[in-house]
Symmetry: D3
Subunit: 113 residues, 6 copies
Amino acid sequence: MAKDWRDILTTVGRNNTALAKAAPDAMKAFAGLAGAATADGAIDKKTKELMAVAISICIRCDGCIAYHAHSAIRAGATREEMVETIALAVEMGGGPSTVYGADALQAYDQLSS
Amino acid sequence: MAKDWRDILTTVGRNNTALAKAAPDAMKAFAGLAGAATADGAIDKKTKELMAVAISICIRCDGCIAYHAHSAIRAGATREEMVETIALAVEMGGGPSTVYGADALQAYDQLSS
Amino acid sequence: MAKDWRDILTTVGRNNTALAKAAPDAMKAFAGLAGAATADGAIDKKTKELMAVAISICIRCDGCIAYHAHSAIRAGATREEMVETIALAVEMGGGPSTVYGADALQAYDQLSS
Amino acid sequence: MAKDWRDILTTVGRNNTALAKAAPDAMKAFAGLAGAATADGAIDKKTKELMAVAISICIRCDGCIAYHAHSAIRAGATREEMVETIALAVEMGGGPSTVYGADALQAYDQLSS
Amino acid sequence: MAKDWRDILTTVGRNNTALAKAAPDAMKAFAGLAGAATADGAIDKKTKELMAVAISICIRCDGCIAYHAHSAIRAGATREEMVETIALAVEMGGGPSTVYGADALQAYDQLSS
Amino acid sequence: MAKDWRDILTTVGRNNTALAKAAPDAMKAFAGLAGAATADGAIDKKTKELMAVAISICIRCDGCIAYHAHSAIRAGATREEMVETIALAVEMGGGPSTVYGADALQAYDQLSS
């Protein structure tokens, strides 16, 4: 049964909001870190979000894949760029990255349509 | 869709029973290790279970979060203690720990009610 | 609620096919690697697939457990061999491996019946 | 040959300074996160640093062990508390945590003397 | 004491040659995978090597950092691009990524000079 | 500079002894787990130690590689069996496993001579 990536994305967002309310200082600082780390710079935001997807695949985190695939799409990432990001993750993670990489492709297809 | 942490907890328990039956020597030794590692001592059991929750978040293991959040609650952990445990896990794990940390907070809220 | 390992296995297969279509060069090379790594040799294929199950447990990858437990079963792995593989994974992974190891035993039982 | 934990600690500090200079926005935000996550609260700073040690053992990070063992010592952690923290990490990480846990004990002994 | 990244890089290369000789089929297939995954395409080779550095930091692999930092440098990666790659890895990995990220910056500085 | 695996092995042993003295209950229980998990059974001890090597490569733990490569050698593992174990680890771990797998081959060669 295919995963519902829009549901995963929504759940991550809602849970994150609850955590931010419970731990405002830490989560505000983390938001600042995330903002600084993904801002356009020598590397553009789209590419940084694709990097985050590659890491998410290699560490096997569904919620992270949903969040960063969505951010990459919003920043303009094409399907071909997502596919090449996944291939890089397979080089760096072997078989498990084929499993989570295939998930990431499915996430891209669902979240970009 | 919110995860059902009581169901996850029940499933972990039932599966663990099946494994203990199949591999009695190894699992009896592991139970001894778990008992020794979480006994009250210089650090109390409650704090040790919170440590286990922090590790579970950082290594991204839902079943572990369910089990150790439940044990922490039974040992008297407050919501504030769980929240601070999660914040520590975010420092040590970054973005993925926000995802699994938010899950741990949800687990706390469901399993303590 | 018990996981449906046949469904997980089917999903991994279908997603993998989609990824292979999208990234044919990388995935063909990975298939070559997987073929070379699991071929009968000084160690037989059955044992290699059990090794892959042990790794899958230790790195906490459900889809990998489904795929390699299935391959081990097809190569003739007995339940006792699976149980001893899980025990080894518990030595190498502690508590989290009891969670994913119990999952692997369930996967064996469902996929071999 | 025993590791020189004071040297590891010094190196982590010096490298971190170089990184903070190169990436000031991200590293300032991370420092804010670390400060919020380890402040005295419902759980005291000493315990939080021991939690960070437990995580560092389970994820196998020498530099992290050096840094957080040192912080725990400065916050007043006793050797017995460190030992119990390591035992908890062994429950949660199995054999690899015995290797890195034994390292953490050595770090404690060197850095507290 | 600062790590000697040129020495680490040389060692990785020499060891890899020995492994390729011992396991020619698997390693030739892996080389094919690596080649396909890092080829210029929708994403250029330089960016792909930086992605590999980000992953290497998050999974805490010194040898991988040496190899991919060197490949990124050869593909034209600037220090600013390396710094932003490290910041992204800190977002995705927290404290441990500050340790290995600072290592990666040191690797860049040594290997590019 | 090649690693000195006999030194790594000796250090792991010595540190482990110190940890066992400090945390006797937990470490005695862990020893029982390790004994049960690696005993001859449906799978022989040699193969179980090779499984432990494969896991050690995939999780990137030098001390674990030293310990389990040594145990595998003592149980009669051939170089060809070690090489095939490494190839399996490369399938399951990608590039990082080529780094640690090449280390494991070096460990085998040093510790078996």
